[in-house]
């Protein structure tokens, strides 16, 4: 029904999408998921032609989207926006009536029988009939969201776009509206494309799920079971999750693995060897656990250095774009001498930061616990020198850790020891 070919889009210099290819079939529920800022709302805008397409094409039953006039488009697709402020106190019924605009015959009002019927039905289905005479400026976020959905329903279109339309709702109305969407889909074959952050609910009702990466590429599209895998979610959202199957419905269910008790590390002294942004998440999280963190050597202006300085974490600093000097390395060594744990992040290795691995070796000899976050051979640019040293460290007792979650578990262990 909607065919997307080679769609690319950029805002100013930043590319949002490149080369998207997929289609929405008639009568399906398609959920778009992905991290914040990956362009989900932009994609929805491009699909309905409210943003101008730069390259590629969007076809609605073989008609290019830019050839469809606004009124015709509004008869085809209704949109429930994320949230909106309405500066003037229209009554709920008046606002819902605006959904009849694309169908109007009269210049001044919607007094047609079919209009009144559609408005009334929309009010009833979204459970806002009691609010019908209230001004919209006095509604709560959840009530307003239901009003906006009612307006979309009054539009009587065969396609419904929802941009996080259930995000402000309490669980009661969220489930009820989800049921309503499913019913519309089953009974009237309404095609539904929704952006959702409720992964479980999306998995439960969607025929297909479109998972976008942070850089606006399609990570995976297909049935929920295929897309909602622990590996996919870990890769895209960078969280540790397990995916179970819901014992009652059999649909995928995401179980986040956060062990909060492991995240109190006050008293533990940790030194971090990082660089080029490889340590900024860890620095922030360590700061939250109240561990006594130090870092370095780092060049000034390195994004890790910026984070550490902002968080008042002591850093052995080097001037920008210079290899680490003797004195800087000595400063770093002094910091390491005072800690109990040394962590080396997953980073790129070059001649510049190669001396850091020597620091680690010295630390092991002093009996400091050294942890290596999963290193990769492809990230070695020293013709094997760094990789050799890493292997040597491992032989000497440095532990390799798969990801940050496991590191925190290990660190908690350290604290007990």
């Amino acid at each position: 029904m909607i065919q997307i070919n080679n769609l690319s889009f950029s805002f100013a210099a930043a590319e949002i999408f490149s080369d998207l290819n997929f289609s929405v079939s008639r009568g399906e529920i398609l959920s778009i998921i992905g991290p914040n800022g990956c362009g989900k709302s932009t994609l929805l805008r491009l699909l309905r032609g409210s943003l101008k397409i730069q390259t590629g094409e969007v076809l609605w039953e073989k008609t290019p989207v830019e050839k469809i006039p606004p009124r015709e488009m509004a008869r085809r697709v209704a949109v429930v926006p994320q949230s909106t402020t309405i500066p003037f106190p229209y009554k709920v019924r008046e606002l819902v009536a605006m959904g009849r605009y694309p169908h109007r015959k009269n210049l001044l009002s919607f007094q047609d029988k079919s209009d009144l019927y559609a408005i009334e039905q929309a009010l009833v289905m979204t459970d806002i009939l009691p609010l019908a005479e209230r001004p919209v400026t006095q509604l709560s976020g959840g009530e307003l969201q239901r009003v906006l959905l009612a307006r979309a329903l009054a539009q009587n279109s065969s396609v419904l776009f929802l941009d996080e339309a259930t995000s402000h709702l309490d669980i009661d109305h969220r489930l009820e509206l989800t049921e309503l969407l499913v019913r519309l889909n089953r009974e009237q074959q309404t095609t539904i494309v929704q952006i959702s952050h409720d992964l479980d609910l999306a998995a439960a009702i969607s025929q297909r799920i479109l998972l976008l990466t942070e850089h606006g590429k399609i990570a995976e599209i297909g049935i929920p079971k295929k897309v909602m895998t622990a590996a996919n979610l870990q890769r895209i959202f960078r969280v540790d999750v397990k995916v179970n199957s819901n014992p009652f419905t059999g649909t995928p269910q995401i179980v986040p693995l956060i062990n909060c008790s492991a995240h109190q590390l006050n008293g533990l002294k940790i030194h971090l060897i990082c660089g080029g942004g490889s340590g900024k998440t860890l620095l922030r999280r360590l700061h939250l656990t109240q561990a006594e963190t130090t870092a370095g050597p780092l060049n000034q202006g390195d994004s890790d250095e910026a984070v550490a300085t902002t968080l008042n974490i002591p850093v052995a600093q080097e001037v920008p774009f210079n290899p680490f000097s003797e004195s800087t390395l000595l400063k770093a060594k002094k910091l390491i001498d005072q800690t109990g744990v040394l962590v080396i992040t997953t980073q790129w290795w070059g001649e510049g930061n190669l001396p850091c691995l020597d620091l680690a070796e010295k630390a092991i000899r002093q009996g400091i616990a050294v942890y290596l976050l999963a290193q990769q051979r492809e990230q070695d640019f020293t013709e094997g020198k760094a990789w050799g040293k890493i292997q040597q460290l491992q032989q000497q007792g440095a532990k390799t850790i798969r990801n940050e979650e496991h590191l925190f578990e290990e660190l908690a262990q350290q604290l007990i020891v």
Binding site: A78, V79, F88, Y90, Y101, P102, L108
Partner: protein, 350 residues
């Protein structure tokens, strides 16, 4: 059969009588509003330096125009003046409603987008060039106003821009015009400056009567065209994107609304100078009283706006008669407290 419409009408009247009391009361208010400009005109005709009691006023009105002093005062001075006040009040209220809706900003008024600056610049340029003709000055102001609006529209690329960009561009063009205006006034001879300041404060006595009928024609056509856009106005208050999603051609509608509101403001400004406050507060009062739906808001604002300015002018003329207070003083003194009262009564909800 010819009976059918009559039957329909009588059923409607019956329905009207059977309405619940609250509904009836509202109808009564609306009827009163419909007649209010007429009543206001009568009050305005009797008020002024020469106080005319009602019975005398009606006698003169029955006599029609003539050469008698009182006849001249009523028919040639006060009546055109009331007509002008009504015209200006209606035009400014209508364009205030439109700008507030299109810009989604309750603080918008007809002068926000540089229209006032442009008009003033046009009029004062004509005045400092030594032109005194009451035919030419309104024309110069009119051209100035529309030029300013056109500039704002082009600079902001108003077809696609956000309402914030539009407001900022308008304020900037307005400031530019104000700076040029100050420069002109500084250079101008004292006589022209005095006249210009008189004009800038808003004045309902300057207009040439020949312009009046043209002005009214302009306002009535403007109103009808605006009224035909009332659903589009409702949609635009929901924001550009939502309006487009609901099927509105936003760029085209904006252009139409701008042209109409701009033309109405330009008409009012060129005939009466910068009468303040009416275009800001009348739309709000009407919205508080009858809700934000533009189908009713537009005609009610026009009616209330003209009534309000006719009364304000009558007060301005009679309070310190034979001297005149600037009408802007009266509009603000009357309008602001009333507006605040309504705001409080409705719980501060615009």
């Amino acid at each position: 059969m010819a009976l059918k419409p009559w039957l329909k009408l009588s059923i409607q009247i019956l329905n009207l009588m059977n309405r619940p009391k609250k509904e009836n009361k509202r109808r009564l208010w609306q009827l009163l509003l419909l007649l209010s400009p007429l009543l206001a005109t009568l009050i305005s005709l009797s008020a002024g330096s020469l106080d005319l009691p009602w019975n005398k006023l009606f006698a003169i009105l029955r006599q029609g125009p003539g050469s008698d002093v009182e006849q001249v005062i009523i028919w040639q001075i006060r009546f055109p003046r009331a007509l002008l006040a009504g015209l200006v009040g209606a035009a400014l209220s209508l364009s205030g409603v439109t700008f507030q809706a299109v810009l989604r900003n309750p603080l918008a008024d007809p002068y926000l987008l540089g229209v006032s600056g442009g008009a003033a610049l046009g009029a004062v340029t004509a005045l400092t060039c030594g032109i005194q003709s009451p035919i030419v000055i309104p024309l110069a102001a009119f051209v100035g106003a529309l030029t300013a609006l056109l500039l704002v529209y082009l600079v902001a690329q108003a077809h696609t821009c956000s309402s914030h960009t539009l407001i900022l561009s308008g304020v900037m063009i307005g400031s530019l015009a104000a700076a040029l205006l100050l420069f002109l006034l500084w250079r101008a001879p004292a006589d022209a400056t005095r006249q210009a300041i008189f004009w800038l404060a808003g004045n309902l006595s300057l207009a040439d009567p020949d312009w009046l009928s043209w002005g009214w024609l302009w306002v009535i056509i403007g109103f009808l065209l605006l009224w035909s856009q009332s659903l589009n106005l409702d949609l635009l208050t929901q924001g550009e994107e939502t309006a487009a999603d609901l099927g509105l051609n936003v760029g085209r509608t904006r252009l139409i609304l701008f042209t109409l509101a701009g033309a109405l403001t330009a008409c009012a400004v060129s005939l009466a100078g910068l009468v303040g406050f009416v275009g800001l507060v009348i739309p709000h009062i009407c919205r508080l009283l009858w809700g934000p739906g533009h189908r009713l808001l537009l005609p009610f604002s026009a009616l209330l706006g003209s009534t309000f300015l006719i009364i304000a002018d009558a007060i301005a003329r009679s309070l310190y008669a034979p001297a005149e207070i600037p009408v802007g003083v009266v509009t603000a003194l009357l309008g602001a407290p009333f507006f605040l009262y309504l705001l409080r009564r409705k719980g501060g909800d615009l």
